[in-house]
């Protein structure tokens, strides 16, 4: 079966049907920022520099990486991030 589905919008349609992401915290004090490297070349160098900048502001960073840029991050990696981090920066798609 290759047919799609049409849904009728149950909302007021004012937001253009978009769900807003989870609201960020008021500050990053005492929080852990997860860096998810999507594993394209050069992305690690870019994230290294961001990690340095975060460090200068005493913001704790934890690094994660996809196995390959060709596929979505595995359930294990996402679960690991969810367990250990409060906010996520994902990079670098080009």
């Amino acid at each position: 079966m290759t047919q799609g589905t049409t849904l009728l919008d149950p909302t007021s349609e004012k937001a253009g049907g978009m769900r807003r992401p989870i609201a960020p915290p008021p500050s990053l004090d005492r929080l852990t920022v997860g860096f998810l490297d999507i594993s394209k070349p050069q992305g690690d160098i870019f994230l290294d520099r961001l990690e340095t900048l975060f460090g200068e502001r005493q913001i704790k960073v934890k690094r994660f990486a996809k196995l390959t840029s060709a596929k979505q991050a595995s359930e294990e990696v996402i679960a690991d991030i969810a367990e250990n981090c409060d906010v996520v920066v994902e990079a670098l798609a080009d």
């Binding site: 849904l7 009728l8 149950p10 909302t11 007021s12 049907g17």
Partner: protein, 472 residues
């Protein structure tokens, strides 16, 4: 869809004895140059040897309003000027002008149901070929994306999966009301966005309602929109209030609601989905979710929605809707804002007076044992066994209610200490104000339990129950 300029058009299907019987006549009419178009609903090779048009998509059948096959239509000047449904020799001869047509066949024979009016097809065809009258924005989910996951991602759910609201499903839901899809119902809190019948139908589909539940949903929606219900306050309070819908009257049995084992819980589709439709409207149209405009500290499972039918099998029990002014025999809903439920176990009591005293103690704990003086609401749901005790003692709804109101009064000093036993003497403080205590009866006939449905703030400064008759 174009009709023949001048001539006959025939719609038939192979899976029909009458169609197979008249097939040779159709071939004869085609040979004579009278039959200009033959549309087959199930097999483009039937009748064999003829120039047959494939109408397996049923577009022509839908466009021509075919309900029975065979249907023979005469066209003049490109417009229909007559039709015969089924086989009737005289009428076929008259329509075709062939006076000796079918003389070897029976004088008449009924046709078969057209595939275009099979169960469920009408709405599918209306979506494909007709005007739906629907105005909501369409969101296409392309294969292989999963529409269930998409609706989660779009924030359209209450945390549980919802039924994809396809145009076909929404059209079917709209069969449950005579109101037009663009009929305005009223504002949904907290955004105040206006809800139409169409938006209500979309959310009712998502909740899992069947079309026959829709009049109940609409009545509950109308009741909830009554300013006395204070829906805005209920959906945003930190106490975490949901909508409880009590259904009375013949509609409850007609749509298969549960008023026996587990009536306040899970397992029954109507019970589970009717109030869920209202809560989904608050999320989707009202824009409320916990942590946003819904400030519930804890919330409770009832915020998914709770609906039940009263047990009206005993004439001695006055149904809730009737006690609130609805005429006997009519179907109605009562909406009640609630913050949770608790069960009361009084298994050793067999006497109406003792039972009342015990229930009064449980009711005095509502909100907090030290709360009195009115301003809070509660619903006491009596099981079959409790009602049996009261009925055998000759008590009715009014007497039970009055006794409970009397026995939930306490001395001010007792309130201060949180003592829940009924008070005696003068200067007693009531637990409930006028109209704050509601009684209902549902559940099985086994189990000396009652359930208290905890209300919210009551009266003009809080939420009041609202009753509405259900209009088909």
């Amino acid at each position: 869809m174009e009709l023949p300029q001048d001539g006959l058009l025939l719609v038939l299907k192979e899976d029909c004895e009458t169609c197979r019987m008249i097939a040779p006549l159709a071939a004869e009419l085609e040979q004579r140059g009278l039959l200009k178009a033959t549309h087959s609903q199930d097999n483009p090779a039937f009748p064999s040897g003829m120039a047959v048009i494939d109408d397996s998509g049923l577009e022509t059948s839908f466009g021509l309003d075919i309900e029975t096959v065979p249907t023979l239509i005469r066209c003049e000047g490109g417009a229909e000027t007559g039709r015969v449904i089924g086989w009737h020799r005289g009428e076929w001869q008259n329509l075709t002008g062939v006076n000796d047509l079918g003389v070897d066949l029976p004088a008449e024979r009924p046709g078969c149901g057209s595939l275009s009016v099979s169960p469920g097809m009408a709405e599918e065809l209306q979506v494909s070929f007709g005007e739906t009258g629907l105005n909501a924005r369409e969101v296409d989910v392309d294969f292989p994306n999963d529409p269930i996951e998409q609706m989660f991602d779009r924030g359209w759910t209450d945390g549980l999966p919802v039924v994809p609201p396809s145009p076909t499903r929404v059209l079917r839901m709209l069969q449950g009301t005579s109101l037009a899809p663009d009929h305005v119902l009223g504002p949904i809190p907290p955004s105040g966005e206006i809800c139409t019948v169409e938006k209500a139908a979309i959310n009712a589909v998502m909740a899992g309602c069947r079309p026959e539940y829709f009049p109940v949903v609409l009545a509950a929606l109308d009741a909830a929109m009554d300013p006395d219900f204070a829906w805005q306050g209920l959906m945003s309070t930190t106490m975490g209030a949901g909508v409880c819908v009590v259904v009375n009257g013949p509609v409850a049995r007609r749509i298969g609601m549960n008023n026996q084992h587990g009536a306040l819980g899970h397992g029954n589709r109507a019970n589970a989905t009717i109030a869920r439709a209202l809560q989904l409207l608050v999320i989707n149209l009202g824009g409320a979710l916990p942590g946003g405009t819904d400030r519930s500290t804890h919330g409770h499972p009832g915020k998914f929605g709770m609906a039940f039918a009263e047990d009206e099998s005993d004439d001695a029990w006055q149904p809730l809707a009737q006690s609130r002014g609805i005429a006997p025999g009519k179907s109605a809903v009562t909406v009640f804002g609630f913050c949770g439920t608790s069960i009361n176990n009084t298994e050793t009591l067999r006497d109406a007076d003792d039972l009342t005293l015990s229930l009064a103690m449980c009711l005095n704990s509502l909100y907090h044992p030290q709360h009195a003086g009115g301003g809070i609401a509660g619903m006491l749901v009596l099981s079959g066994e409790y009602w049996r005790i009261y009925r055998e003692a000759g008590w009715d709804r009014d007497r039970i209610e009055q006794a409970l109101l009397e026995h939930t009064q306490r001395a001010a000093a007792a309130v201060e200490t949180g003592e829940t036993s009924p008070g005696k003497g003068d200067n007693l403080v009531p637990k409930f104000g006028p109209g704050d205590l509601v009684l209902a009866r549902t559940g099985s006939n086994a189990g000396l339990f009652s359930t208290i449905i905890h209300g919210w703030g009551s009266g003009p400064r809080g939420s009041q129950p609202v009753t509405r008759e259900i209009v088909p």
